[in-house]
Symmetry: C2
Subunit: 281 residues, 2 copies
DNA sequence: CGTGCCAGGTGCCAT
DNA sequence: ATGGCACTTGGCACG
């Protein structure tokens, strides 16, 4: 990588401070923001939030992440989701008040504010995060929809899709079509096992379409998903709705080929430890 | 390695490596995991995921967070949510393969795997995250429920709550009671403005209770929320359901007192810059 | 462990 | 901006 050239430094590299003073952290924050870097601050802090709800978090050592797009995240040592946060588009400010470093992130609409007060900063880092953000995902509901449109016979012999995202008084219908007899069919797609909510959703759509049509021809409702819970099945039967078992397809190229190089030379490896840093597959 | 003293070190402090070799990162990872630290790895990497769905992310500089509870997060420079992740309870392993550092996080039930392959590591940090994880939140649906139970007259004069989380064939009912005439009332609570989904939920509960009762006495359905969308209101009217505007209360102590110290001495402050590091309120 | 549901859900895309 | 909904939703509480 072009890390050491003299021309404009594409990747200035991380900036890290150990046990900095609050003033030093303030400087570093300003510089990192100016460079569009992602900032992490690790230290003993309290967190206060007020906005859509309100919350308070007592003192502890946590990791604060400030992104250049205005996002803020406060992470503890457990859970995947942050204990406190601020959405993208917020404004970050830092100041020293009462001997503590206060990082305040605010936004409007809705009006909300996050205050992280550091009694002590153990480490500051400014990280120039760049590179591709685009993610390819397969196995989504969109994939399932494509599958249904390509092979409507998998739903039911004689099924003919007529529209997707068809509007109704109850909202957009995933796939709308008709069966071999020309009866309207409302199809609701779910990429995974469904509960009562999906049945309710399908029912709303079916009723909306039924009301649109003055004729006595009944409208069929079809739930396409890998499986349903017991309660959902009972609701389906009670409401005269149908279920077709189908799962979103897995894309061909991502399946097994990625890890087929199981016999190559591993340049180096650590000794196999009980729970981490293994070198074998 | 036990960083210095022999007695248990209360806060060993962060461990940071700059542009480490893959082998050095491997060692540091192992040690950090052993100490129960939170690990951050910043570097140029690709990410592959396969499990409930599948995804692929091309090369770029990103921040990987590994928590001692098994969570893994891959963050880019934008968005509050990680671009890839692995839930708590996963197992993290690291190895060097084909000259790249591969961090693999796996779990079972469901079977899924996250592979982060670092072409180059810019920075490694092991952070001993500790301290309170408990968060007090107000303004939730539970607060709204308490409010309704304390002051049922705010819902409607003569309303009498009889049960909360009352079971029905369609699921648990937030608040179940009866009005001044003794007619059953199903109440669904929402902490914020609601759409069609909440109306559908309420309708399911009302119908379930109606089916339970053989008598001809109709069951009332009541949606309690701050507001409703147009479409939701139309659905309410069509289904003969009712709406009462009510928002969850804000707790008394968290409101304004937190920031009342607006005239204290600010020990130090940076010069006010355009968009960051301000020292005033 | 599965089922059901709230969440400061977030994010995406439509009007 | 608001609305409607999918999401590797996450997280919790309960059977």
């Amino acid at each position: 990588m072009d890390r050491g050239t003299d021309a404009d430094p594409p990747t200035p590299g991380p900036t890290t401070l150990h046990a900095p003073t609050h003033r030093e952290t303030l400087w570093a924050l300003e510089e990192a923001f100016g460079e569009g870097a992602l900032v992490t601050v690790f230290g003993r802090c309290t967190v206060e939030y007020e906005g859509r709800a309100a919350s308070s978090l007592g003192p502890g050592d946590r990791l604060l992440i400030l992104k250049p797009d205005g996002s803020a995240l406060v992470h503890t040592d457990e859970n995947q989701s942050p204990v406190n946060w601020q959405p993208p588009g917020s404004e970050h400010r830092a100041a020293v008040r009462d001997g503590r470093l206060r990082v305040r992130s605010t936004r409007e609409n809705p009006d909300e504010r996050l205050d992280v007060r550091f009694e002590r900063v153990h480490q500051f880092s400014g990280l120039p995060v760049t590179g591709g953000r685009s993610l390819e995902v397969t196995g989504s509901e969109a994939d399932l929809k494509r599958r249904v449109l390509e092979r409507p016979d998998l739903v039911e012999a004689g099924f003919t899709p007529l529209a997707t995202e068809r509007e109704s008084a109850a909202g957009p219908i995933d796939v709308y079509g008709e069966d071999a007899e020309g009866t309207p069919v409302v199809v609701e797609l779910k990429r995974k096992r469904v509960g009562p909510d999906a049945v309710g959703q399908l029912k709303r759509y079916v009723e909306a379409v039924s009301r649109e049509r003055a004729d006595d021809r009944s409208v069929r409702g079809l739930l396409v998903a890998p499986s349903v819970t017991d309660r959902a099945r009972a609701m389906l039967e009670h409401d005269g709705l149908e279920f077709v078992a189908m799962a979103p397809p897995v894309s061909e190229e991502s399946a097994e080929s990625a890890e087929s190089d199981s016999s190559s030379d591993s340049g180096e490896s650590s000794d196999p430890s009980p729970s981490s840093a293994e070198s074998d597959d």
